[in-house]
Symmetry: C2
């Protein structure tokens, strides 16, 4: 079993590559739920949905979020009624949030619902929320403390980030499937996907028990740097690193994951920054072939580290 | 002020005619909420929505329910996820239910929400739910007790109806605007729209205080028979009347409203059944001109009764 820790788009794309090159059932994608929020009375899980939609090949490629062939009629009608429509929810996407909200209210866990949705969408790998407990990312900025989606979507990451808080994380436990994997001999490698280390991966690492597990694990663990030529492919990773007074280099990423990983995959555009235990390759994933190639390289790298 | 008591399509169409021929603000449509239900975690108010959509001229004409130019992408996606999609909710329509549910959870009343939606949709007349308290129509049938929408939509009214129950009605009060009108000198006439007397009007009449008000009122009250040639234009009125061992005649309708109305408008197809205080005219409303004509005739009839 390979475990991939993932957030939104970048993580989902590598997870998709891994899902395609690994035999069915041999990948578990552990997904950030710190971006989850309640909006319009609906429980929205942006990162689990991005992973679900990407692995089922229903994701929109251009937009980078939501479903392909999507319409936004409900949002237009909501605006007409005076409702909040700054967070664009497509019509088909709405069904996911409505059904998840209904099932949560009926007592189902996020884990069960996510697994059922994955099966319904024809996904043969495991998708596991990092926790079934509510963990909410709060962004402390020069404009005060902001719920994640206010910072990310409503304000387009414009406020300068000072620190991050994962509200509720101290009381949270990893999801049942993750707990099981943390003590399983069947895990042969762990991959931290090229997701935003601060917004997408740190919430997972903040759950009690996760860091000790990664520090004490037997299987090798690698991360893929989300930077290409010192910039993020998408999203605010580079902006945030600058605001946190970090260099936007693979070295800073490696430093961030210090003690947790055995190796780092960095992009060829950053090869001048190469150091210690790293693999330099093309990390940009434009199409499915790119995703599969990077997935294969990551798995080979894990294999090499396992032999070492 | 004219008060119209209405349920779904037929009632909404006459209310639309009345809204167009009366000056702005001089019509109050009191709408049945016995068909309201919670579905997919959303509070759905079928009759208030039909009135909102019809008066704002956004209703679909062919289908007889929902919005025109509607899509059903969310329902298709819901089916894909294993959700319940037997009750078809259009994408634009969903926005109404999502926003209403959100506002109810935030503590707003059905009255306030309905008034706000009406204003947002450009409606210049008053639309008032019969009550802000939950009243749920239960249909007792040969297949047992059924929630209204199970009987009406899921089972297409196939079970034989034995009796109706309006659960919660004993503890309910009329909505604030209706209470105000019940003691107002400004009411110049009351019209019971050509809605189903048993499913749409009886829930209104069952609210404590409504029957005594109608029995003691000064302003004239008329009803429009929903039957044309002994048949319902749409819906199960005639089927239900047969199951309740009633003749499907205007006389049975008049008998049903005995003591509450001063006159009945019946269709020319039923003219052989004419009796006592009634007005015979064409009651089928195929287009807006029909609605306006029937509205004008109803208002003239009220005026005549007021003079008498």
């Amino acid at each position: 079993m390979i475990i991939a820790l993932a957030g939104g788009v970048g993580g989902a794309r590598l997870a998709h590559g891994l899902a395609r090159v690994l035999p069915p059932g041999e990948l578990t994608v552990v997904v950030n739920t710190g971006d989850d929020f309640t909006h319009l009375g609906l429980h929205i899980s942006p990162d689990p949905d991005t992973v679900l939609y990407t692995l089922s090949e229903l994701a929109d490629q251009e937009r980078g979020w939501g479903l392909k062939d999507e319409s936004f009629h409900a949002m237009e009608a909501l605006g007409r009624l005076g409702g909040e429509n700054w967070f664009a929810l497509g019509d088909k996407d709405l069904a996911t949030h409505i059904e998840r909200t209904r099932r949560l209210a009926a007592g189902d866990t996020l884990s069960t619902i996510t697994a059922d949705f994955a099966a319904r969408l024809g996904i043969t790998q495991h998708i596991v929320p990092m926790s079934d407990d509510p963990i909410r990312t709060i962004v402390h900025t020069d404009q005060g403390a902001l719920p994640f989606q206010d910072y990310f979507v409503r304000l387009h990451c414009a406020p300068s980030l000072a620190s991050l808080e994962f509200a509720g994380v101290e009381e949270a436990t990893p999801s049942p499937a993750l707990i099981k994997l943390m003590t399983s001999d069947e895990v042969t490698g762990i991959i931290i996907c090229p997701s935003n280390p601060f917004l997408s991966i740190d919430p997972i690492l903040a759950i009690p028990g996760i860091r000790p597990w990664l520090q004490g694990r037997k299987a090798p663990c690698i991360a893929i740097s989300p930077l290409i030529g010192g910039k993020a492919v998408k999203g605010p990773a580079a902006k945030i690193m600058a605001e946190l007074k970090l260099d936007t280099t693979p070295r800073a990423i490696a430093q961030h994951y210090h003690g947790l990983i055995d190796g780092l995959i960095i992009d060829q555009a950053d090869s001048a920054e190469a150091f210690g235990e790293c693999l330099v390759t093309a990390t940009l994933m434009r199409d499915i072939a790119d995703r599969e190639r990077l997935a294969r390289e990551a798995l080979s790298y894990l294999e090499r580290l396992r032999q070492a």
